[in-house]
């Protein structure tokens, strides 16, 4: 019951969602919509579990005076402030949107913008003609970089009388070899995902149930 039950449930729900793709029967369409709604409710409830884990993580850090424990107060305060703001002043006005627009969004966008710096340091280190493959990475990367930028439009000359602009080469690299590699990976991943999904539905895959041998 502890192990077979979830496997049987996974099989029935999985087959139901698979079959509904192939049949227009009204029953399957309704079942499909209901299952999607159930999924959302389950996810919604688990956010309570997640927040409980967050609170316990920072509470233990404070109580055990582990390194940087003082900052855990900031996290718990931020959490408390946002939730109380939503409950008391509701989500449309007041401190809730203020915290979102002036604390959360700016920091998220700044964290994202750090990538501009990391892309520079990563490309400086990785784009080095050490091996054959690294050289390919370098050539393709530099070529596309130049092609996507106005300076690239200047760099076009004629080879054997055929006028070639860097932008055209860059577009060709993007539209042919790059698309080929992407499609190869996509088909491979598609196969991998489908096989794993089949293993889940047929109960061959059970690690997610905590069985690891």
């Amino acid at each position: 019951m502890k192990r077979q039950g979830p496997i049987i449930l996974a099989f029935t729900i999985g087959m139901l969602m698979l079959v509904q793709f192939f049949t227009p029967a009204a029953f399957f369409k309704q079942a499909y919509n209901i299952i999607l709604d159930w999924k959302q409710v389950v996810l919604g409830f688990t956010f309570i579990l997640g927040t409980w884990s967050l609170i316990r993580y920072h509470y233990t850090k404070i109580s055990r005076r582990r390194e940087n424990w003082q900052y855990s107060y900031v996290t718990l305060a931020g959490l408390a402030a946002t939730v109380t703001a939503a409950l008391v002043w509701k989500t449309a006005t007041g401190p809730y949107p203020w915290l979102f627009n002036n604390v959360q969004v700016p920091m998220q966008s700044t964290m994202f913008s750090l990538l501009a710096f990391f892309v520079a340091s990563a490309s400086y280190r990785a784009f080095r003609a050490r091996t054959f493959h690294a050289t390919l990475l370098l050539i393709a990367g530099a070529l596309v970089m130049l092609g996507r930028v106005p300076i690239g439009a200047y760099l076009s000359g004629s080879v054997f009388g055929v006028k070639i602009s860097l932008v055209e080469i860059s577009d060709w690299v993007l539209n042919v070899p790059n698309a080929a590699a992407k499609r190869g990976i996509m088909i491979g991943v598609g196969l991998g995902m489908t096989a794993t999904a089949i293993k889940i539905v047929l109960g061959i895959e059970q690690t997610y149930l905590g069985k690891t041998d």
Binding site: N33, L36, D37, K39, Q40, P97, F100, N101, Q104, V105, P106, Q108, S109, M111, F112, S113, A116, F117, V119, A120, S121, S123, Y124, R125, F127, R128, A129, R130, L138, A142, M145, L146, R148, V149, P150, I151, A153, V167, D171, L174, N175, N178, A179, K182, R183, M186
Partner: protein, 277 residues
């Protein structure tokens, strides 16, 4: 430490500082480089220009604040292009954080062209389950969004009267920093035959190429460059074009670092070869 070793191991903080300056300076002092329009931007423009006044598009804000810088210029350009040609806009957002952005851009664009809410455009707001929403819009818009963002029933909103399923939508425009544009093509396009074009961050646009080549997404904008090109085509210069200058300088700087690294590597290999002889 030989000169070439220093060239190969520049401290990461020096790289960070120079990238920061390379972007900050051109924003304060614009330089004005030319913009060359790419094929996929031209097809995006062609799809939008093919719309007739009175057609309705579904504009989906599939992003949040963290990619605002790259995607807002596209959403602004699409809204200006649509409203300037009396094309109606049904707007939704599949990211909780996107509601604030969508509202601001819709009201700004509507004010600019004197468009009235409920007749020329409507904002249906956020639905948490994006894939479920995309699929159920194929069955019925009003069932998926019983009310608009402001709690008004969609049965009473004028623009929603003749919008029942994807068949009543001339074009789906997905502005996204994630795989959502692909899913619009898979679910709305593949399953319900809607025509889907997309505006994407540069990182996501690279994934759209196979869909663009296979015709599943007949046109898309790639990154800030795509936004700048589209702004040029609809003759509405905005954040896209201004940002391109900063980008050109930063690009040149990065290429310089890569060249320095490789030249240093070349000399160190040559030095090693000479020592081993």
């Amino acid at each position: 430490m030989a000169f070439y070793d220093r060239m190969m191991s520049i401290d990461r903080r020096i790289i960070f500082l120079s990238v920061g300056l390379a972007v900050a300076i051109p924003i304060i002092v614009p330089l004005g480089f030319p913009v060359q329009v790419s094929e996929e931007t031209r097809s995006f423009y062609r799809e939008m220009a093919a719309l007739k006044p009175g057609d309705t598009i579904l504009l989906s804000f599939d992003y949040e604040g963290d990619v605002m810088a790259e995607l807002n210029p596209m959403a602004v350009a699409v809204l200006r292009h649509a409203f300037s040609r009396d094309i109606k806009v049904v707007a939704i957002t599949t990211y909780a954080g996107g509601t604030g952005i969508a509202e601001r851009l819709l009201t700004e664009a509507a004010a600019r062209y004197g468009k009235t809410y409920g007749i020329d455009y409507v904002f249906l707001g956020y639905n948490p389950d994006w894939s479920g929403t995309m699929l159920r819009l194929g069955e019925s818009f009003k069932a998926t969004y019983p009310t608009d963002q402001y709690g008004k029933s969609t049965y009473e909103i004028p623009i929603m009267q003749n919008v029942e399923t994807y068949r009543d939508i001339a074009l789906v425009v997905s502005i996204s920093g994630s795989a959502l544009s692909e899913y619009w093509a898979i679910w709305a396009g593949g399953r319900y035959g809607a025509k889907v074009i997309s505006g994407n961050t540069a990182i996501q646009a690279i994934l759209i190429y196979p869909y663009y080549k296979a015709g599943q997404i007949p046109g898309f904008l790639g990154g800030l460059k795509g936004a700048a090109e589209y702004e040029k085509l609809i003759d509405e210069p905005g954040m896209g074009i201004r940002g391109m200058d900063a980008q050109s300088v930063a690009h040149a700087l990065m290429l310089a670092f890569i060249i320095v690294g490789n030249v240093g590597y070349f000399f160190s290999r040559r030095a090693q070869a000479r020592q081993s002889k």
